[in-house]
């Protein structure tokens, strides 16, 4: 099915099942420990051997010698695979660095081998016996130091009007630089895979957000035809972008299994993950805003510098600045430096998350310069069209509504505009806010739907559920379309034998994947109607029956002994080009800062979101509160500390890389505006999982400023950066 005209009314609009806060259908499995993750497939693979990964101990250079003799002779060892015996390997099209390094080393903890043994303990012990000799080379590890060598990239670059002239002429100007650090996904389930060969075909039970990307890149790396590779990933213990791509666990499980001649499972040890896998790259961002005295933006410029390995990608931190606020003269630019740190890549809301951390502090600073309330300043500069292409409007844009409702519900009017004046005992308190913005992406997505002789529906798609609620919203979609109770729908996900879906990334999953299920269900409805002798257009599907006129047939009867099967792919036309599709929101935060120690406590958080139809308010709300929590981490604690001499992230475990815990997070409020967006898909939904993260960090930074009068422009906002600027303690 091709979606190239805005959706009219369709069966989803009935909202008998879709749109309700239904408990996740995978909940009983997950809460009892019966959901099998990649390393736990005792149900499908008997007696696997264990692979333990060895990581490079240098950031850049060459392996001059590897002595694996002691490891091979160690008790229980079945195989040792390194670049010397792995055979010729390709490189995945989504990978920047090779997943099995050697002799050249591209980054610290790049995998250089796997030791396979009968037990985990034996494999780990033997891996420590491998002796590696390196010739270390100098590398570039400090973004600030190589900033001037960064090359300009075309991506995200834009110029509208005369930015430099308008900025110079603006009566009120802001020119500030902000930095965001390298961050780690730190999902709870380490990257893990179990691989088993059958002849020259391999099946890998793994933990991957994008099944078809993974199949394609594993086949490419192993030099196999794609049909010889099967990936299965029904449960994924968190991803956040860190499991978008084929990673070393899957490749080394496959190589280890081939070498050992039996199934092998590999999990990345937690301390290996942060340097071995991808991370969100650090940025340096310069923002310039010029305004009239009454608060209208006349010039807005956003430039960002980031680094990556040769052949890598920039962090697109300026994208939202093209679309979020009005202004006739505009500039965005990205510059990319070569760094020999581990591979930078997508982490939840790539681009917008770090971009808004900077832009929304700048807006707060500018509002203060103007003497205008920060909420009002944003409302003044709203735009209903793409400011760079004014003939192109937003499909739906309710930013102003999000701002006004959030301000009202949060008690924004009680904020003291003068910072550092609200004191309650030992606590300085402050309020902060930020706009939230994230583009709505759509991706082609396929599904297969079966109706059996009992009138039960089964949906199969390689879509993944990474905690997002895919199982549940897909079941809701099929139940609505076919007119059966939710209990009569079974959803099977994450297997490359199923139709290729949108996968989970870029907050495109929910809208795109359910649209694919919608397309397959439309075909199934046609097949059922035909079988029952109805015109498809007249047929009504409800309560397990198909009806037309005064005749009705049960779905079970229509399916017959053999059942009916339909498969389709939802493909998206050019509506995303003709309209700007984005999601909007506002974040409001109250903080308390210890007047003596500078310790920050988050007291209250509210997000208001306008993101199209909310398919399941319960799981959608969870996406948003989870993103708000990640935003607290980004604001207050998360930073991969770079060793600039040796080129690696020092705090590479969950003790050193701090993420929010229970005690850091208060009760969180989320409001969804009542919205449908018929331009996004027949579901009229948009993404929400990343929107919730966009802007949170700046709202917290602005609240800390309001509480203390200390403006911090370098994340994370740790107390060493403002302790000497706290108000005098009376």
């Amino acid at each position: 099915m091709k979606f190239d005209t805005p959706a009219g009314s369709n069966p989803i609009d009935q909202l008998k099942v879709v749109g309700h806060p239904i408990d996740r259908i995978d909940g009983p499995l997950k809460t009892t420990g019966h959901a099998p993750y990649a390393y736990e497939r005792h149900d499908v693979v008997a007696n696997p051997a264990y692979g333990y990964v060895i990581g490079a101990a240098i950031a850049k250079g060459r392996i001059t010698a590897m002595d694996v003799g002691a490891a091979r002779a160690a008790p229980g060892v079945l195989a040792v695979v390194t670049h010397e015996n792995a055979g010729p390997l390709g490189k995945g099209s989504m990978n920047t660095a090779r997943l099995l390094g050697g002799p050249e080393i591209e980054h610290y903890h790049q995998a250089i081998g796997v030791v396979v043994a009968e037990t985990f303990e034996q494999a780990r012990d033997a891996a420590a016996l491998v002796k590696v000799t390196y010739a270390r080379e100098e590398g570039a590890f400090d973004l600030a130091a190589v900033r001037d060598s960064a090359r300009k990239v075309e991506q995200s670059a834009s110029a509208v009007g005369d930015f430099e002239g308008a900025f110079a002429a603006a009566p009120v100007q802001l020119d500030q630089t902000y930095t965001t650090p390298d961050q780690s996904h730190a999902m709870m389930e380490p990257h893990a895979s179990t691989a088993a060969w059958d002849g020259d075909s391999v099946t890998v039970w793994t933990s991957n957000q994008m099944i078809d990307w993974g199949v394609t890149d594993l086949a490419k790396t192993l030099n196999l035809p794609k049909e010889k590779v099967r990936l299965v990933s029904p449960f994924i213990g968190g991803g956040f972008g860190g499991k978008l791509f084929l990673r070393a666990d899957a490749l080394l499980a496959a190589l280890g299994a081939r070498a050992a001649g039996r199934p092998v499972k590999v999990a990345l040890p937690r301390p290996l993950m942060m340097n071995n896998t991808t991370h969100r790259p650090a940025t340096i961002q310069r923002i310039r805003i010029g305004c009239t005295r009454d608060g209208r933006i006349t010039a807005i410029g956003h430039e960002s510098w980031s680094g990556d390995l040769p052949g890598g990608q920039p962090e697109t931190a300026v994208d939202q600045t093209r679309l979020l606020y009005a202004g006739a003269n505009r500039l965005t630019a990205l510059r990319l430096a070569v760094l020999d740190l581990p591979e930078g890549n997508a982490m939840r809301a790539p681009g917008e998350a770090p971009g808004l951390m900077a832009l929304e502090i700048a807006m707060d600073e500018m509002a203060e310069k103007l003497g205008i309330d920060p909420v009002e300043f944003r409302i003044i500069n709203d735009t209903q069209v793409d400011p760079g292409q004014p003939d192109r409007s937003f499909s739906r844009r309710q930013l102003v509504e999000c701002l006004r409702l959030g301000a009202e519900r949060f008690g924004w009017r009680n904020r003291d505009p003068v910072p550092g004046r609200r004191r309650n005992g030992r606590w300085l308190t402050g309020l902060g806010m930020a706009a939230a913005f994230r583009n709505n992406l759509v991706m082609a997505s396929g599904a297969r739907v079966r109706l059996d002789r009992q009138g039960r529906v089964t949906v199969e798609t390689d879509m993944t559920d990474i905690g997002t609620g895919s199982y549940t919203i897909i079941a809701q979609t099929a139940a609505e379309m076919i007119g059966v109770p939710l209990e009569h729908v079974t959803v099977r996900l994450g297997d490359s034998r199923f139709p290729v879906s949108a996968g989970s990334g870029g907050q495109w999953g929910a809208n795109s994947a359910t649209a694919g299920v919608y397309a397959a269900c439309v075909k199934l409805r046609e097949a059922v109607a035909q079988k029952a002798g109805f015109n498809t257009a007249d047929a009504v599907f409800a309560e397990g029956q198909v009806r037309a006129g005064n005749r009705s047939v049960s779905l079970a009867e229509a399916a017959g002994e053999a059942g009916l099967v339909a498969e389709d792919v939802m493909e998206f036309g050019d509506l995303a080009k003709r309209y700007q599709q984005s999601t909007f929101g506002s974040h409001f935060v109250e903080v308390a800062v210890d007047a003596h120690t500078g310790e920050v406590r988050i007291r209250r958080m509210l997000a208001v979101c306008a993101a199209g139809r909310i398919l399941n308010p319960k799981s959608a709300r969870s996406q948003v509160i989870g993103a708000m929590t990640m935003g607290v981490g980004a604001a207050l604690m998360e930073e991969l500390a770079v060793d600039r001499r040796h080129g690696f992230f020092v705090n590479h475990d969950l003790a050193g890389y701090e993420v929010p815990v229970h005690a850091d997070i208060p009760h969180q409020e989320v409001i969804f505006l009542d919205e449908v967006d018929p331009i996004s898909s027949p579901m009229k939904a948009k993404g929400v999982g990343e929107l919730g993260l966009c802007g949170v960090g700046a709202a917290i930074a602005n609240a800390i400023y309001n509480a203390t009068g200390a403006r911090v422009r370098d994340y994370p906002i740790t107390l060493d950066k403002y302790l000497d600027r706290l108000p005098d303690v009376a």
Binding site: P28, T32, E40, H42, A46, T119, E189, G238, T490, I625
Partner: protein, 199 residues
Amino acid sequence: MEAGIGTAVGTAVTTLAGPVAAQAISRESTGLTVRLKVNGTEHDLALDPRTTLLDALREHLHLTGSKKGCDHGQCGACTALVNGRRINSCLTLAVMHAGDEVTTIEGLGTPEKLHPMQAAFVKHDGYQCGYCTPGQICSAVAVLQEIEAGIPSYVTEDLTAAPQRTEAELRERMSGNICRCGAYSNIVEAITEVAGRPA
């Protein structure tokens, strides 16, 4: 049939796709023998003495509800109950637990018959990816017992009075269980409901 996820619990726990072979605990050739009592059942295992309690549960008894998130006591995903008290099962060796009563998430309830804490997590959506969830639930069950037993925490204001089931107490006591999906707000609501206070 091959299983998928349906709301009908019975279908959801049938076998999964692919070749299923008989289980064999076959790695204990050189090990120390230990008798573990897990979820009320005694198991005689011969284990490599380096085997953690977590790996004994996951790899030898195939009780994979206890999760390995870090293997270093940093995340809490491996939380299980030993003699009624919660423990990071990755930080203790299996051979140290002869004769102990170990309770894992599988021993609290089943998909067909959820423990009240498991049911509350489902109701309040106190999880997303599900990987930290068994540890959160085991911890939550133990936290309420610790408060009941009068054990104070860092945030207990009056060490001579009985600690209360306040949200501050719950958040403090649950802080060893990381949830990167960020379900904390919902988890506290779930625990609060089980604790008998209004959510």
